[in-house]
Amino acid sequence: MTMRVGVVVFPGSNCEYDAASAIEAVGATAGFVWHGATSLEGYDAVILPGGFAHGDYLRPGALARFSPVMQTVADFAYGGGAVLGICNGFQVLTEAGLLPGALQKNRGLTFLCQPSTLEVASTRSALTNRATIGQRLSIPINHFSGNYTCDDDTYASLVENDQIVVRYVDNPNGSRDAIAGVSNVAGNVVGLMPHPERATSALLGSRDGLVLLESFVSGQLVAR
C-alpha cells in the first residue's frame, strides 16, 4: 500500500515542497495540509517541514504550536501515527510538548548552513527503522537555533528509553551529547535538525537522506 504523507504548511514554512518531493522520491504520495486544518483524514503519516513558521517570532515554534492543526497532530501522534519534524518542525514539536527538550541558539551564535555527518544512535524510531546503528550519514543542516538542550532528568530518560535517534559526529551547534534528533518514548514521533529531504540525490551532494525517508514511509513505525 502506498503511504500517504501530509506535509503541514504554516505561514512561513519554506521546505514543504522539498519534503513533498523527497517523499515522492521514496515511493509514497504527499499532500499539503494548511495549518488551520483540523483533520488529517486520508493521511498515514505527517511531516512538519522546515522554515520559519509564524516568522519564528517570540521563539521558533512558540506560535506555531497554537495553530489549529497542532491539536490534530497531537491526537494523531498519541494514536500512534508517524510524525516527523524537520528543523523548524522539530522546534514546533518540542514547543508543543510532543518531544522532550528544547532547541536554543547555536553555540557561537552563528547561523549554520553546511553538510553535517550524523551517526545513527537508535533504529527503534519511525525515521531509522531501515538504518543500522552507527551508520554515518551526510545530511545538511540549516539553522540558528539547533542547540539541543534538556535537563539532567530528561537526558537520563532519553538514554534509558533509547530516544536519541541521531547524533552529530562533530557537534557543530553545541547540542547536549551531540544530539541531532530525538523520538518520543514510543518512537513514532521523531524530530531532527538536519534536513534529510535535501539529501535525496547525488546531484544535491548526498543521497543519505533516502534511508531515513524510506524508513519513515515503510509503514513500520518502530522496528522491533
Binding site: 536554543q104 551564535l109 538542550t149 535537563d151
Partner: protein, 84 residues
C-alpha cells in the same frame, strides 16, 4: 482597572546562555572591566485588565508560562510597573 505589567523571561540557572556568554566575551574589548555573569533575556510590557494588582500579575504569569516563555529552559517573573 488596567495595570501596566512587565514580564521578564530569562534562561533557567544552569542552562547555557550562548548569547550572554558572547556579550560577556566582548566586554573587555570595549573597556568594560569587572562585569561578569551576563545573562540575556526578554522583556515584555503588557496592559492587563484586572480588578487588583495580584490578579493582573497572576494573569501575566499565566500568559508567560503558556506562551511568552518555554518552561523547559526559561523562567519568568512579572511586576507592576509604576504608572508614568
Amino acid at each position: 482597572m488596567t495595570f501596566s505589567v512587565v514580564v521578564e523571561v530569562s534562561l533557567r540557572p544552569g542552562i547555557a546562555d550562548p548569547e550572554g556568554a558572547t556579550i560577556e566575551r566582548a566586554l573587555p574589548a570595549l573597556g568594560f572591566q569587572g562585569i561578569a555573569n551576563v545573562r540575556a533575556g526578554k522583556c515584555f510590557r503588557l496592559s492587563v485588565d484586572a480588578s487588583s494588582e495580584a490578579e493582573a500579575l497572576e494573569r501575566a504569569i499565566s500568559l508567560a508560562d503558556r506562551l511568552l516563555s518555554n518552561p523547559v529552559i526559561e523562567q519568568s517573573t512579572a511586576r507592576i510597573e509604576a504608572s508614568a
